[in-house]
Symmetry: C2
Subunit: 315 residues, 2 copies
């Protein structure tokens, strides 16, 4: 029987990469040296088997995604990711599974310059809890400062992850690109940093575009007019939609698991931001604009989705 | 159906208490202003129903304990607690249960000057994940710097929580003080801060005294000689042990859930530390001393416990 401490030592404990980590894995707590004058950003998200991921998802992909969904929250604040802690609850201590999970987690963290500094491991139902910490020297980007007149931009298209999930749940073959979008999302950290100082507000799209837009609008006490034709199904989504005799619109507008950033940026600064994002290899999408009042209106025919019931419900 | 966001808003979102919290609950991440020059301490622990707590534990006690077990890790580093995040996975959204849990959690945090700044809530098997953050302006206390000749001191006696658990598992009536020790532990934050600069090493006793001592000894590459008569059963423990025809020794030496601090302190400084601890209302216990070599030896008759299999196993 492999115990908690052996598993952690074997798969997770590594020499600290950053000089800002003065105590890493193995003591009662990790010790970090924040940058002078920095604001610290902290976010926590839990992934539960059967609810946030299918139980047979490859361990490496799950490790990657568990890190990325938290890093995405830091990205939305415009923060530079720094450190992660990991609380794993596992039904059994499968050494190979843990090794692959750790590899995916570490790869995701390294891809944005972050590292694992602590955590724990417990026997129980498969649940992955991650806390991510980051820093910013300027004021963090918030979701509550969108202003009427702002343009609404996404760092990329939405709906591919939800399409992959739909295919999996119908036991249909899944296009590889769609599956990558579901299993291996990329936190838009550089895009979030670029948006800091340019955008008025930002949020990451995890629960579905309309749901997360609604969070931003409510927090900012504004409404939005959306361009119905801004987001279109990719060819793979169209093929799948035909096979399912379904519309791709719910995937796009309410699907979730996209991990793109949604920002509200004043028109005078939007092209600057879009240029930077394009240089980062992103394909920004202009989905509408912020208006006075509340709620949504549509330019063009509203998609056939139910915004009231939209959004991934964790409960 | 009460959703995640409503539950969080109703029971957890409160105006920030500390000026160091610039963004609290409700954005993608919390924003904290670390003290200038401080080292940040971060620790994560998860409580799983049926493994770390009985499923029928009162919600208020569970909330209290979930916060305290993490604050105890900060205490062991000599840190001043600052902030907590909470990741709850719940089988159902029981409003009264969540309200009581939140009250207990908040009370524990407030008792040490910490506050909840973020988290999430998900449907799933009952699991409570907490990340605690604290600060220290001096070097944190570690577990790896115990030196031969150091005295080993505890902030208080061990075994009462394990005795309570034994009574509960045998469906015997539980003495109220024992139950309080199990359900409402107190993180020794002030004691840990006092030990910083006086003790060479510290660890919190959560998995059982011998197991956590072993962690300290191994990390410090030293051994220990323990005083077999240092720790005795309280009257309530003696009554229970008689009823169960059991020895209280395993509760004391290997039981766990005590959340006392164990420190290794040089003899020239031990009385200073013990005096401070006594002023804090604690009843320090001198359990032995650090020696060259490895492993344990006993002064007096070794208690009838098995150090090899001792310690709470999370796996």
């Amino acid at each position: 029987m492999t115990g908690e401490f052996e598993l952690i030592a074997r798969h997770f404990a590594r020499p600290a990469q950053s000089a800002q980590v003065s105590i890493g894995i193995g003591d009662d707590a990790a010790a970090l040296i924040p940058s002078a004058g920095a604001t610290l950003l902290v976010t926590t998200d839990t992934l539960v088997a059967g609810r946030h991921f299918r139980s047979d998802v490859p361990a490496e992909a799950l490790g990657w995604k568990a890190a990325m969904v938290n890093l995405s929250d830091l990205a939305a604040m415009g923060a530079t990711p720094g450190w992660l802690t990991l609380a794993m609850t596992l039904p059994e201590a499968d050494d190979n599974w843990v090794a692959a999970f750790a590899e995916g987690f570490r790869a995701a963290a390294q891809s944005v310059g972050a590292e694992l500094v602590g955590g724990d491991m417990t026997r129980g139902p498969l649940t992955i809890g991650v806390t991510a910490l980051g820093e910013t020297l300027d004021a963090p980007l918030r979701r509550c400062a969108a202003q009427p007149g702002d343009e609404l931009w996404l760092t990329g298209c939405t709906g591919e992850a939800a399409a992959a999930l739909a295919a999996l749940s119908e036991a249909l073959p899944v296009d590889e690109r769609l599956l990558q979008r579901l299993d291996r999302p990329t936190a838009r950290c550089a895009a979030g940093r670029a948006a800091r100082g340019l955008a008025h507000a930002a949020i990451d799209v995890s629960d579905g575009l309309l749901a997360d837009l609604e969070h931003m609008l409510k927090a900012s006490a504004v409404g939005a007019q959306l361009r119905a034709d801004a987001l279109n199904a990719t060819p793979a989504m169209q093929v799948l939609a035909s096979a399912l005799s379904a519309s791709p619109d719910p995937w796009i507008w309410t699907g979730g698991d996209d991990y793109e950033l949604l920002v509200a940026v004043p028109p005078a600064r939007s092209q600057t931001l879009v240029s930077i994002w394009a240089e980062q290899g992103l394909s920004p999408v202009h989905i509408g604009r912020v208006v006075d009042g509340e709620g949504l209106s549509w330019q063009g025919d509203a998609p056939a989705v139910d915004p009231v019931s939209s959004g991934f419900r964790h409960f």
